[in-house]
């Protein structure tokens, strides 16, 4: 069976890969490109651990066929820091102890970044609803929400 040849951009870099049609973007990121920062928690779009952006839209990589990324711009957690400078959200998550086991953290960060790009001054409720697709079982969400709100406040300054 012929595999699909895909040319795409991931975290600003040109990437080419071959994939089966049924392979998701998450499968290719993790198993072919070894970008394992995006996590598989459910493979059904219910946990958000594989959150990435595609052409600027927040999506679950498990709900995108890899072949659909032809010509697209994909951003993953691996592209969030700028060289050795953490994104303010990454720093605030550390400052606020907003992670425990850390497996949901990449998804939360990618999702929160997408929120702040659209809404630099979200309310607590807006943060909570925007992040409702990202499950965290360790923190009870409190410190995550605080970290996002604090980042937003700092980035507005």
């Amino acid at each position: 069976m012929a595999r699909n040849h895909v040319t795409t951009t991931i975290n600003g870099d040109p990437v080419e890969f071959l994939c089966d049609t049924e392979q998701t973007l998450l499968d290719v990121l993790r198993d072919e490109l070894h970008l394992t920062g995006s996590k598989e928690g459910c493979a059904s779009g219910d946990c958000g651990a594989c959150s990435v952006t595609m052409d600027g839209r927040l999506v679950c990589a498990c709900l995108v066929l890899a072949v659909e990324t032809q010509g697209a711009e994909v951003e993953t957690i691996e592209g969030m820091a700028d060289g050795d400078r953490l994104h303010p959200l990454q720093q605030k998550f550390l400052d606020h102890a907003a992670l425990q086991c850390g497996v949901c953290t990449p998804g939360f960060l990618v999702a929160a970044k997408s929120l702040l790009e659209r809404n630099p001054d979200p309310t607590e409720s807006e943060v909570r609803y925007w992040l409702a697709g990202n499950l965290c079982r360790c923190t009870g969400y409190d410190k995550i929400v605080r970290a996002v709100l604090d980042t937003a406040a700092e980035m507005r300054e």
């Binding site: 089966d20 049924e22 993790r30 198993d31 070894h34 970008l35 394992t36 920062g37 995006s38 996590k39 598989e40 928690g41 459910c42 493979a43 059904s44 219910d46 946990c47 651990a49 993953t76 957690i77 691996e78 969030m80 820091a81 953490l86 990454q90 998550f93 550390l94 400052d95 606020h96 102890a97 992670l99 425990q100 086991c101 850390g102 497996v103 949901c104 953290t105 990449p106 960060l109 607590e124 409720s125 943060v127 909570r128 609803y129 992040l131 409702a132 697709g133 990202n134 499950l135 965290c136 079982r137 360790c138 923190t139 009870g140 969400y141 409190d142 410190k143 995550i144 929400v145 605080r146």
Partner: protein
């Protein structure tokens, strides 16, 4: 040596007299694994790849209960790309009655080998029946469809009360109930009866003016860690093997796997990956021995990762229960007797946490007459696994619900009623031993005095309170401090870091050594790097690991002082370790310039060679932790939806090494409890199959479901720990079930005795109440 002991003693005094003297302990220091986790660099169970790696997949029983007549893998093996198939025939049977201590649990390996791969019967839907290793996920999946299994479907039972009935299908045909006198002659699904208590409950009830008795029923819930079970096994032709896996205890996993595969323990090296949540669910093995068996057969590395569906069908869960509780009190509010009967679903194999539940049920109360009886009952569900304070949330849900009703009947404030009966140091616990220093009263008082409890409720809202208890544990723990030539140290521990323990252990190390925190690099070593380590669980790591790292730091200090003494040509007694440097002491004070760790390290080759601080211990004296939760709810009377509007956790930490991660434990436990109370449950069809094996319909709380979770850290130091630590991870999940149920009662005037309080149940109760 004497000098070192003195320093440690001083530090303990510092803690109790002036906590400001501590430089790291009690601060919100950055966590050493943090950057890896916010950048996606951290490697979790499924994140490792090896050259020539195969993918393993499990064929699972579609039946809740079935005899396995035959398994024919020939067609699967003939499929190109399939490298190995394993079934029950690939695991040696384990002797009957062989129980062994393995980590924290007593393990029955005869049961465990049957749980990881069904033998005579498949005992629950999702039970592993065979496994394949193939060149790709797709080929492995295709191969599964080619394995022919001939089943004889048997009647099944999933409800605990039905399973205890005389006519229930027997899950294990030869099971005779333990703990009965006389022992029953006929087999049943009741694995064990336990009883705790003291006094005479009927005498106690005869002294009561108010007696309330209720029956409760709860559904099983899953730990719900976001990372599915995952491992990578690599077996060599010479019988040596490596295993990478997401586990709460890689030493414990090593022991289980070696036993199940019949190999020398030391031939297997296990490396724990970063672990994406466990909550008790990753204290046992599922995929690991299967991946090793496949790798042994295929002579290639085999990676196995559960799907979320498999996680729900074949791992965890925590028990469902059926419980009766009766409590009596005088009109003045003194509890005269408490009696509980707790029936817990163990799943397909014996071993529910009902003993712990029976011990914890009345633990917050000082009772003269108390009895709690527990039954461990087999059903056709996955074998239960530990879930945060295993068993305690359930027994205490029932007891704390009745306590709340009593307070209402006696027209007493629920916290004051609890305070009238609460345990304090020196009181006999309901399960036996006297309590040492504990913080039960302190958490109740702090909850009562908290702004939350003092703030009037909004219209239609309800407020609930509950208190919870967990023992906490110690156990075998090792730590090594390797001094580097520049004076920085590598701290190697053997307990997987599930929520920030590298931070807390490094902080205690730096504190004891008197050095900068960033000079300590903490790592979790593999099973060959250190002596034995019990798993991460039971809230033990900051307690027992703390004792180990402080011991290793003391050992390092002793050697550093020795090198300084040799260098200065002074007796060891005339050298002391202060603020991270060796100084001449006693009459020699000031005779030599102090030597820092870096200076001693620079010349360690010349002064005697490498310096390694070590400590191995079987830590004893874990400090129990009490917590009191206050919660406000709003109930939509037309749809039955319960919304949590405010939540406060008050808990005794002993000493919070890193307050941020202590608060995180409190908050996370509370929100898991909210899920347990309101929406989480396994739903089965009439054939005994799970209908909601996914995060869509197994409803863990999402971010928009919950409010901020306030926390109050009470610190009643544990005298058995150098910094006073008790352990905090378990207790936060104990009070929420009752606290929320009590709040709903307060809002609606309806007592719920069933969990979860999902909207259909709540609306039905509202309509019934008219």
């Amino acid at each position: 040596m004497a000098a070192v002991e003195k320093i440690i003693e001083n530090r303990i005094d510092d803690k109790t007299t002036d906590s400001k003297a501590l430089k790291w302990v009690g601060t919100r220091a950055p966590r050493p694994d943090g950057v890896d986790k916010v950048t996606g660099r951290a490697k979790f169970g499924a994140d490792t790849h090896l050259p020539n790696m195969l993918i393993g997949k499990v064929l699972r029983s579609p039946h809740a209960h079935a005899r396995i007549l035959s398994i024919d893998p020939s067609a699967a093996l003939a499929l190109p790309g399939v490298k190995a198939v394993v079934t029950r025939d690939d695991f040696p049977d384990q002797p009957a009655g062989a129980v062994q201590p393995a980590g924290e649990m007593i393990i029955n390996y005869r049961d465990m080998t049957r749980n990881i791969m069904a033998r005579e019967k498949a005992l629950y839907e999702g039970h592993a029946v065979a496994a394949v290793a193939a060149v790709s996920d797709r080929v492995a999946g295709q191969a599964l469809t080619l394995i022919k299994v001939d089943y004889e479907v048997l009647p099944h039972v999933i409800d605990v009360d039905e399973a205890m009935g005389a006519d229930a299908p027997l899950i294990q045909e030869d099971l005779i109930t333990e703990g009965m006198d006389p022992a029953p002659e006929k087999p049943s699904n009741i694995a064990k009866r336990v009883e705790f208590g003291h006094g005479d409950i009927e005498t106690g009830f005869s002294q009561a003016q108010v007696v309330i008795e209720r029956e409760f029923k709860t559904r099983p819930v899953h730990q719900g860690y976001i990372e599915p079970h995952a491992c990578l096994a690599s077996f060599s032709e010479d019988g040596q093997a490596d295993l990478w896996c997401s586990t709460q205890g890689h030493y414990v996993a090593r022991g289980h796997c070696a036993t199940l595969l019949g190999m020398d323990v030391s031939k297997l090296r296990v490396t724990s990956s970063e672990i994406g949540g466990g909550f008790g669910g990753k204290t046992v093995v599922y995929l690991e021995p299967v991946a090793l068996a496949l790798s042994r057969k295929a002579c290639q590395p085999v990676k196995m990762v559960m799907t979320r569906d498999e996680v729900f069908r074949a791992s965890g869960p925590a028990c469902g229960t059926s419980m009766q509780v009766r409590i009596g009190a005088t009109r003045e509010g003194k509890i005269t007797a408490g009696d509980a009967t707790l029936k817990f679903q163990a799943g397909a194999f014996a071993g529910s946490p009902v003993p712990a539940a029976a011990m914890c049920a009345f633990a917050p109360y000082d009772l003269e007459h108390v009895r709690s009886v527990g039954y461990d009952v087999l059903v056709n569900r996955p074998k239960v696994a530990a879930y945060r304070a295993p068993g305690a949330p359930l027994g205490e849900y029932a007891v704390e619900s009745v306590i709340d009703e009593l307070a209402k009947a006696l027209e007493l404030d629920p916290i004051e009623f609890r305070l009238l009966n609460a345990v304090r140091e020196g009181v006999d616990s309901s399960y036996g031993p006297k309590f040492g220093p504990i913080g039960c009263i302190q958490t109740l008082e702090a909850a009562r005095d908290h702004d939350h409890y003092q703030t009037p409720l909004g219209s239609g809202q309800g407020r609930g309170v509950a208190t919870g208890y967990w023992f906490n544990i110690g156990g075998q723990t090792s730590a090594t401090l390797n001094l580097s030539e520049d004076g920085s140290v590598a701290l190697v521990v053997g307990t997987p870091d599930i929520g920030g323990s590298r931070a807390s252990l490094a902080m205690m190390t730096a504190e004891t050594l008197g050095i900068e925190l960033d000079k300590v690099r903490p790592l979790v070593g593999d099973t060959s790097a250190l002596g034995y380590n019990m798993l991460t669980g039971g809230s033990r790591v900051t307690f027992a690991g703390g004792i180990a790292v402080v011991g290793a730091a003391e050992d390092l200090i002793r050697q550093l002082c020795e090198r300084a003494a040799l260098t200065w040509d002074l007796p060891l007694d005339d050298v002391e370790w202060i603020e991270g440097e060796a100084r001449p002491a006693n009459g020699r004070a000031g005779s030599e310039a102090p030597m820092s760790m870096a200076e001693i390290a620079k010349d360690m080759a010349k002064s005697g060679g490498p310096i390694v601080g070590r400590h191995s211990t079987n830590a004893q004296g874990a400090g129990p932790s009490f917590g009191t939760h206050v919660v406000d709810v709003d109930v939509d009377r037309e749809t039955g939806r319960v919304s949590v509007t405010r939540y406060t956790v008050v808990q005794d930490a002993g000493k919070a090494i890193h307050p941020g991660y202590v608060e995180g434990q409190y908050q996370g436990g509370a929100v898991q409890g909210i899920g347990w109370a309101l929406n989480e449950e396994y739903i089965y069809d009439e054939k005994g199959k799970i209908e909601n094996a996914g995060f869509l319909d197994y409803r863990v709380p999402v971010c928009s479901d919950v409010p901020m979770i306030d926390t109050v850290i009470v610190e009643v130091p544990n005298p058995e720990h150098p910094y006073g630590v008790r352990g905090v991870g378990e207790t936060p999940i104990v009070p929420p079930l009752a606290a929320i149920s009590n709040a709903v009662e307060n809002a609606l005037g309806i007592r719920f005795t069933e969990l979860p309080m999902s909207p259909p149940r709540v609306l039905a109760a509202i309509e019934q109440a008219g």
